[in-house]
Symmetry: C2
Subunit: 68 residues, 2 copies
């Protein structure tokens, strides 16, 4: 999963562990572990709950052909 690294890094920056992230977000610890290792295909709701705690959000972007 493409968001694994971002979540992991951001969590690290904020200085919280997986357990805390699970508690605060309400998402199961097991699920967070799976997402961070790249396994799993979370729902928008699940992913958003996690990102929210990390001060991030999901947005759509219109693809552009490489800007240089």
């Amino acid at each position: 999963m493409k968001f694994a690294k971002q979540i992991k890094e951001r969590r690290s920056v904020l200085g919280i562990n997986q357990q805390d992230l699970a508690d605060i977000s309400g998402v199961g610890l097991r699920t967070i572990k799976q997402i961070e290792v790249g396994k799993g295909n979370p729902s928008i709701k699940t992913l958003s709950a996690i990102l929210d705690v990390l001060g991030m959000e999901l947005v759509t972007k219109i693809k552009t052909t490489s800007e240089l």
Copy 2:
């Protein structure tokens, strides 16, 4: 779901109907219908498949406090 309107509008702009979007994306028609009406909680994979056909993509953004 927050992406319903964006998907619907973008599909309209591109001039394709739900059936076409389903065929091209490989996502079931029923699922697309549900997403567009705001029901349902699609997985990243499902949502990405749809967005991809529409020339869009999912990205994470770090929340900023209102920039006036």
